[in-house]
Subunit: 283 residues, 2 copies
């Protein structure tokens, strides 16, 4: 019987070798349809908002969510639907694009470090430092041995953040080649999306196998106890949304957070309130 705990079920156990073809992108657990799963999706979304508020109130930890996927894998959609439920106060999204000249003039973790969440806050990375062992590797900009050195840098960097009470969750949104093609088609059919289209998206598809391999290596090498990778079945958008929010909820719940004690004497403040209210009545 599979565990009902998503953060165990979809996690890459540290030290294991990932084979993406063993992960079904169309998986949807016991749910038959989006409609049927809707109450559960809604429940986790609401709970996520409560827990994020608690994280903020507690002010003792940070949350870092890393989203990686192939083109049309659903990073934007995940942010919009799931993480959009979070309060924009205390939650920042960072989209990492082609490095600026300033960024490129530093080590590959320099710009990422600056975007690390501050205490009490959540940061969502739309793409991340992992691009530096993915797109760069696929296009031969870094060698395999350079990649290995980078995995070590990444693990040390994530350890640094974790040691400063950062909860790190990394999601690979796993879609099938057929689903990607279907989504490209949808973009072509919707004039509202034409402005976003580029030839490059379509051409990257030629490197599908190379990307799968690069992801397998990165996920295998960099899934750690303090910063685990999760492979999320993402052919069904609604299941992807459910799985990501559920894993975040399960993780935050396990922290057993609580509101900090008051900084003031509540009884004294109550007395002060009555005084103010009394003045009000007189005037």
């Amino acid at each position: 019987m599979p565990t009902t705990d998503y953060r165990t079920r979809f996690r890459i156990a540290p030290g294991t070798r990932v084979r993406l073809r063993d992960h079904d992108p169309g998986y949807k657990d016991r749910h038959r349809s989006k409609k049927e799963a809707a109450p559960e999706i809604e429940r986790y979304a609401r709970r996520l908002r409560e827990l994020q508020y608690l994280l903020y109130a507690e002010g003792r930890r940070s949350l870092l969510i890393v989203l990686q996927a192939l083109d049309a894998g659903g990073k934007d959609g995940t942010i919009r639907h799931v993480l959009g439920y979070m309060n924009p106060q205390g939650c920042r999204v960072h989209a990492f694009k082609v490095p600026t000249p300033e960024e490129a003039a530093h080590d590959f973790l320099w710009r990422v470090h600056q975007a690390a969440p501050r205490i009490g806050e959540a940061a969502i990375f739309n793409r991340s430092h992992y691009e530096d062992v993915l797109v760069t590797r696929v296009h031969g900009l870094v060698s395999k041995s350079e990649c290995k050195a980078r995995y070590a840098h990444i693990n040390a960097f994530e350890r640094l953040l974790a040691d400063r009470a950062t909860v790190i969750l990394k999601f690979f949104l796993h879609i099938s080649a057929e689903e990607q093609l279907r989504r490209f088609r949808k973009r072509l059919d919707d004039p509202k999306r034409w402005w976003k289209l580029s030839e490059a998206d379509f051409e990257e598809r030629r490197y599908w196998d190379a990307y799968q391999e690069a992801y397998e290596d990165a996920l295998s090498r960099c899934s750690t106890e303090h910063a685990p990778w999760f492979v999320i079945p993402a052919d069904h958008k609604w299941f992807r949304n459910l799985a990501v929010s559920r894993i975040v909820v399960e993780t935050l719940e396990a922290l057993d957070m609580s509101f900090p004690p008051p900084k003031v004497d509540i009884e004294a403040l109550r007395a002060r309130w009555r005084e103010l209210a009394g003045k009000e009545r007189e005037s």
Copy 2:
């Protein structure tokens, strides 16, 4: 007959003198209750999300929303309920607190300038540079004449942003003294909020009149065509939410934005798609 256009109705016309007591904090237009207004609130929230996406897609303008209020005036609530509908990608909230030593070692607009929204994005200021002509003035940290100089600096600074296609909307959430007292009471009665309580909040109430006066001056001096102030009736939280989102929607709609034209030849890309799909079938 009053106009149905909220961005005219609640705006401080440039050059006019504001008297806050002429603005009813309990105003709720034709609505009788939150429940009755719910469909309208929902409609504006949805429209807000669509328009923010269009702002992002268009990539030609920025949106800056400034929120100011007395304690318990509802800044956090407005962000949570109204602006929480916006996509966290392309929308950043900046809470301006007591300046850090680094910030205090610069002019008062230095830290604010850094938080200006980039093109295509929205920024929400939870408090702002206006604190430097409000709290500082009430507590005698700046003189009246210094304040006057600052109004001029503020107007010039906002002009600079507006000239770089920044749409600026400034909201003063206007509550009555009785409503503030009621909200303080609620905080005292809710253990989940105790961690946030400070004596200072209650003591600031002594300066109620001084704050009203400081706000009247700032609103009168700094409501301009390119960066208007709005006085939002905020005793009813649901009406406050409705009014703010409606003004943002009305303003963005007036821009008559549209999706940019595609960067690629859609027909050529369609042909490429068929080619890819054909390969798929063969393999």
